[in-house]
Amino acid sequence: MNMRWTIGVGLLAGFGLCWAIPHYEWLDPYVQLVLMYLGINIILTASLNLVNGYMGEFSVGHAGFMAVGAYVASILTVLVFPEEGSAYYFPLAIMGGGLGAAATGLIVSIPSFRARGDYLAIVTLAFNMIVKSVLENLEVVGGPRGFMGMEQLTTLPWVYVWVVITIWILRNLVYSKYGRGMAAIREDEIVCDLCGVHTRRVKISAFLVSAFFAGVAGGLYAHLLQFINPRMFDILKSTEVLIMLYLGGMASLGGSMIGATIYTVVMEVLRAQGGFRMVLMPLLLIFLMLFRPRGIFGLKEFSWLIPWRDLLLMRQLRTRKEVPRASAEG
């Protein structure tokens, strides 16, 4: 129980800090901007981890969901919601973006019933391309020129709140029967089915939740940049999320946070290298993969993310195991 208090206090302190930093201008605006990108990257990476890491599928079109979220949220704030009090409607717009993305996630989950692995990768890739292509052909949202008019509603406290919500919800899902079902689908789909799991329902829930948070990230991104166009959400963006994911490690929310942080920071540090930034970054990635093929934190987890009841039981029984047992069965 102690840990829960610590986590609660830590979360509140984090929020206080995220509120105070812009309010008292403790940090350079540029650093604040990087922090907000970091938060968005964490949301993207952690949500992709649900499908790619926990469920072991290979979705390469995460930016497609992000695009849907970005456009839906932007349309809501610019065209639907009233201008005054836009800050109050902002969470609703983000939710709307998330729900829009989740609806497309539902569509993508259908081919996943039959296709797996590389074939599902193509489906998600095609989905990403189709989203981009549709947006380029929709004159209502500016077609290839893009869409603008959003206020800069994304602030550090908001990013913080959404990161916390994302990690919390994903962690809840991962440590439920659905999360166990996802891991079992990753390990052995046929046996998973034979163990009574409704694999379709599990797949749908993974894609829905993953797409929802990608949409949230898109909404936040759009209201940070105040301008979006279809090219921002192409396959390169998806690749970027994949890199953060595999850098941090599969099936680990902690890993996603670490991966997104390292990637964001390294990219900022390498900014000084100009054109060679994108030459050095993949080299770092390749070296990492050669020496740690499972990513930095693959299949591991921060203990504060694990439900305390599981943790408690494991600790209890681990200590007991060390005591030699008198009547061991032969």
Partner: protein
Amino acid sequence: MHLLKAEHVTHRFGGLCAVSDFNLRLEPGELVGLIGPNGAGKTTVFNLMTGVYEASQGSIEFEGEELVGQSPSEIHALGMARTFQNIRLFKKMTVLDNVRLARYAKLGYNPIEALFHIGRFRSEEKKILAHARELLELFDLAGHLGELAENLPYGLQRKLEIVRALASNPRILLLDEPAAGMNPAEIGHLMAFIQKIRKDFGLTIVLIEHQMRLVMGICERLVVLDFGATIAEGLPRDIQSHPKVLEAYLGEETPG
């Protein structure tokens, strides 16, 4: 009433007839052995019973309910669990989660409750954790509960696979070569183990096995398959001297 009744079950892969006109009746509490030479179609019979394959012809009834056409998870929910010839645990999941997963369908909470850890989620997860712990303690696996299944030694992996099958409280347990890779002493333990779980869990067991000592030692009835067809059925001691069985295993006696 029979617990399970398979009638005229036939299954073809393309042109190949893997199982032809297979019949089986199970009484509650029975321990039946399914034997036959390699490639006789034994595992295919298990796959047909559990819904991995859908029988081309015939019917399989579980307490009057038709299984042919149902999905593996539906059949599992009726009370049929199995193990596999080559161990198929969820390797990168913990021992605890392997067991908890098998109770997926028994957990009565919905996705919303799961997303927020509210409502029935807490009580149900508490129950399942206690159940998994009890089961693992019963089988002396509790000390390994937080380990990844792939890190267990071979013998414990075999055991965990059986525990996982038992976790859903099945009525019928199908064991596919449980003694594979075991030495004679281990087989002795396994025989006692199977008898014990049958009694303690009130199971009806069908097992596929090549180890004649185990088959003859614990099975009450044997069904012999060859080329997908039942060639003999009866008490172990009758089967031992059945001419067709000898022929299937040893080949036809050449005259002269």
